[in-house]
């Protein structure tokens, strides 16, 4: 049986950061990177731009073969992890082979969650999580005249924008009352919605699809209120679920995701997890949460790698902070921190209708909990530090709200430069 000291499963940000962190401390220990994807490592976040044609499919790779060779990493592509046998420290692969490991990182990411809509198995639809999904969708949107996107999260909205830009009629169907729910508040969502409707898209929020059936051009969707929609292209973008089926029968504790400690260790010795499949402590709550965002995946991956290699420089996870940026029709929206407003918190907003500039900040006890902007640029990384460091902004709150970028940088230069 093949043996390796470190087995990293997955090939996106969490896995790659873990590889870097391991190699910082242990340049020689045998390291194998296993991924179900046949391609070199890439980020799911870039895929909407492959769909739009902006990113060339061969220009998105985060590492090349040489990187793995130079760092003595054995790269196994196109082979999924099938089952984890923690009692004997072995990973069973989809191709029937087994790899014995000393330490394993589960950074297996997530897959599209397919809603249990009656008839969904009778129609053909697109999803967007892998490069192959993206190249297929890229080809399909060029043919589409009338498309329906299920789900108004960032993946769905990106795809809808691309469809609008190629001239297709687009309808976005979202169960929640607003689009980009969980990322942006109602005001920001309305600004985003207006940009879409101005460009000819239809947005149906608070709508549920109750039936799907094949039709002459593709699919007929029936909504809860009886309306029907015809789609020659259907994209299901209603969220993701962590890839962790391989844990069946193992002792590794999991809930919505794989439960991990502040050093990304699971309930089983020698097993770590990071990224979109991990469920770690939130910064604003001690409960373990899913925070499936890129910066957090990178952070968790680094922590896991350092812990696996025994790097004494390890600093434990401060807890996940939601962080999102979204670019739409030449405008941008940034969200940093909590979207929930706890008791006793103060919410301040300013909105300039003419320029479409919107800013919202949530404070508690003088400290920033969250800040959101549409067309209002501020340094999200600096804002995140203000939150993580719980810096008291009481004395400068008005200035901060007027010029968050400038005041944020001033505090940075005095505090953590």
């Amino acid at each position: 049986m093949e043996k390796t000291k470190y087995l990293v499963v997955g090939s996106s940000h969490a896995a790659l950061e873990a590889v870097t962190a391991i190699r910082m401390h242990d340049p020689e220990g045998s390291l194998t990177l296993l991924t179900r994807d046949p391609h070199l490592p890439y980020s799911p976040t870039v895929l909407p731009y492959v769909v739009s044609g902006r990113s060339a499919p061969d220009g998105i790779f985060l590492r090349d073969e040489k990187f793995f060779a130079d760092h003595h990493v054995q790269l196994k592509r196109g082979t999924a992890l099938k089952a984890l046998h923690v009692e004997r420290n072995a990973a069973e692969l989809a191709d029937g082979n087994e790899i014995a490991y000393e330490k394993i990182l589960l950074a297996t990411g997530a897959s599209p969650a397919i809603p249990p809509i009656p008839g969904i198995d009778t129609v053909s639809y697109h999803v967007l999580r892998t490069l192959d999904d993206a190249t297929k969708l890229n080809a399909a949107i060029k043919q589409s005249k009338q498309a329906v996107v299920l789900g108004a999260g960032l993946v769905g909205m990106h795809a809808a924008e691309n469809l609008v830009k190629v001239g297709a009629g687009v309808t976005v169907v979202e169960m929640a009352k607003q689009l980009t729910d969980g990322y942006f508040d109602q005001v920001a969502a309305q600004l985003i919605e207006k940009a879409f409707t101005d460009n000819g898209a239809r947005i149906l929020t608070g709508s549920r699809v109750v039936k799907l059936a094949p039709s002459a051009i593709g699919t007929t969707l029936t909504l809860e209120n009886g309306t029907t929609l015809e789609a020659d292209l259907l994209l299901v973008a209603t969220g993701v679920r962590p890839n962790m089926d391989y844990l069946a029968g193992s002792r590794v504790e999991h809930d919505k995701g794989i439960l991990v400690s502040d050093s990304m260790q699971t309930s089983v010795a020698n097993v770590w997890s990071a990224g979109d499949c991990a469920q770690a402590r939130g910064f604003f709550t001690d409960a373990k949460v899913m925070n499936a965002i890129l910066p957090d995946a990178a952070e968790q991956g680094r922590i896991a790698g350092m812990a696996m290699a025994g790097d004494p420089g390890l600093k434990t996870y401060p807890g996940g902070v939601p962080l999102n940026t979204y670019h739409f029709f030449g405008r941008h929206a940034i969200s940093v921190g909590s979207s929930k407003v706890p008791e006793g918190a103060e919410v301040v907003t300013r909105f300039d209708e003419a320029s479409g500039r919107y800013l919202k900040a949530i404070f508690k006890d003088g400290c920033l909990l969250g800040i959101y902007g549409v067309n209002e640029f501020f340094d999200a990384g600096v804002m995140c530090q203000l939150i993580l460091r719980r810096i008291d902004l009481s004395a400068m709150k008005q200035r901060f709200l007027a010029e968050p970028m400038k005041v944020g940088r001033e505090i940075m230069s005095k505090t953590w430069r």
Binding site: T20, M24, S43, P44, T45, A298, D379, G381, K406, M412
Partner: protein, 450 residues
């Protein structure tokens, strides 16, 4: 992941010199986007007159977060230049890099809709020469660090120096540079005290080293060099001596070797006293300085004791008057300059006598905190208390780091305890001497080049 432990050139900022004028931002925006709109500059001055100014500027991190969170592989660390490079063809304008950076080093340029960051202008940053106050400097000493790091360290790994002593730096750098084909002479003083002559019958260097008397260092070294020449072997003959061993009892031997143009390199580590034996004054100790033999107190005969009452001898100028192959002054606060001179001195010592005088602050004897050695060395130069120049018979004397706008000498004096007692009269005497010495050396530089 490459070049671990390597160093890069970098834009350095001295907040104390910045008055927030914004000329750097205008220069950056002009260079990068063709207009002087400071909002579009990649270097941003933040803060205020009252709170002090700081920079928001890409730090070209060794382990950059912006790169790790870029989903499009548009940001890469160039391990040759150290610069984090942005590829506009790959960037998808997602702004995630601005989440990764905690230092506001990469931000949206509203003029283009893309992020923008400092790229160090391919090694000639436009902001640096635009600063009228020298608050920005482009530090290029990384070259030395990277080069020297690859050379063999010929000094013992441990040594017995005082904490904060920069003589270790000098010895390790000098020995690495001259290389293994060297014979080293270290007369009594701090250098053997730190371990050059070794312990228990073994040397503290990986090259032959000997311990001459204070009085005969140059003579013995000259003889050894001649013997090697006689047997046809090319070696560097190097002395590392203190100022006492060179300017006082060792002077006749030094002067004689220089007059005979012996092919040796004589380096003086000038810490302005006999620091190894208990901080006695030497002829290089400056006026007013406390030493154990020029104490502060009541004195005798109604004359209070206020430190040294004579001015220092200017030994390097005396060496110029030997018309040596090469004479230079140097400071460990200016390593590029020091290295340049060390290279020239080594070359000159193959033709004749080369003399290198290094001003070397002494944390113990001068009484300043152990982490302040470079700062004190720098202040000495910035106030013109010492001057950095070089001389050879063909080109004459030239300043290598002229200080046109010197700080008042009090900025130097107050950096250490040995001058704490000075009266206003003494300070004005020292300031007067600084002006006089500068005029003297300037005149010499002028005369030599004329």
């Amino acid at each position: 992941m490459a070049n671990f432990g390597g160093a890069y050139n970098t834009i350095a900022f001295d907040a104390n010199k910045c008055d927030g004028c914004g000329d750097c931002m205008t220069a950056c925006a002009t260079a990068k986007v063709g207009v002087g709109d400071t909002a579009r500059s990649r270097i941003q001055i933040v803060g205020s007159e009252s709170d002090g100014f700081e920079l928001a500027l890409c730090r070209q991190c060794g382990d950059p977060k912006c790169v790790t969170v870029c989903p499009a592989a548009a940001l890469t660390k160039n391990f040759a230049s150290g610069v984090i490079e942005w590829d506009g063809a790959k960037c998808v304008d997602c702004l995630l890099c601005t989440i990764g950076c905690a230092y506001a080093g990469i931000a949206l340029d509203a003029g283009t809709g893309h992020v923008a960051k400092c790229d160090a202008c391919d090694g000639a940053p436009a902001c640096v020469p635009a600063c009228p106050h020298e608050a920005l400097t482009y530090v290029t000493t990384s070259r030395i660090y990277n080069e020297v790091g690859d050379w063999e360290d010929l000094f013992a790994p441990g040594l017995a120096g005082c904490q904060g002593c920069n003589t270790e730096l000098l010895m390790r750098h000098t020995l690495r540079r001259v290389g293994p084909e060297t014979v080293l002479a270290t007369p009594p003083g701090c250098v053997p005290g730190m371990g050059s002559v070794g312990f228990n019958g073994t040397t503290g260097t990986k090259i032959p080293v000997f311990h001459p008397l204070l009085t005969n260092t140059a003579a013995m070294l000259a003889g050894i060099k001649r013997q090697y020449k006689r047997v046809g072997r090319e070696v560097n003959a190097l002395a590392i001596a203190g100022d006492g061993g060179a300017s006082d009892v060792g002077f006749q031997s030094l002067s004689g070797a220089a007059e005979r143009n012996e092919q040796i390199l004589f380096m003086v580590v000038d810490n302005e006293g006999y620091m190894n034996t208990g901080m006695q004054r030497s002829s290089c100790t400056p006026y007013g300085a406390w030493t154990s033999t020029t104490p502060i107190g009541k004195g005798s005969g109604g004359m209070p004791s206020q430190g040294k009452t004579q001015d220092a001898k200017n030994l390097p100028l005396i060496m110029v008057n030997h018309r040596c192959e090469y004479v230079a002054t140097a400071s460990t606060a200016y390593m590029e300059d020091l290295y340049d001179k060390l290279d020239k001195a080594i070359q000159a010592s193959k033709r004749g006598f080369a003399y290198l005088h290094v001003y070397s602050p002494c944390t113990t004897g001068w009484r300043f905190p152990t982490d302040q050695n470079m700062e004190v060395a720098r202040k000495a130069v910035e106030t013109n208390f010492v001057m950095l120049w070089e001389y050879n018979p063909k080109d004459g004397l030239e300043f290598t780091r002229p200080v046109d706008d010197p700080l008042p000498v009090t900025e130097y004096l107050k950096a250490m305890g040995r001058f704490r007692h000075l009266s206003p009269d003494q300070i004005s005497h020292i300031q007067g001497k600084v002006v006089e010495n500068l005029a003297f050396v300037k005149q010499m530089a002028h005369r030599q080049s004329a």
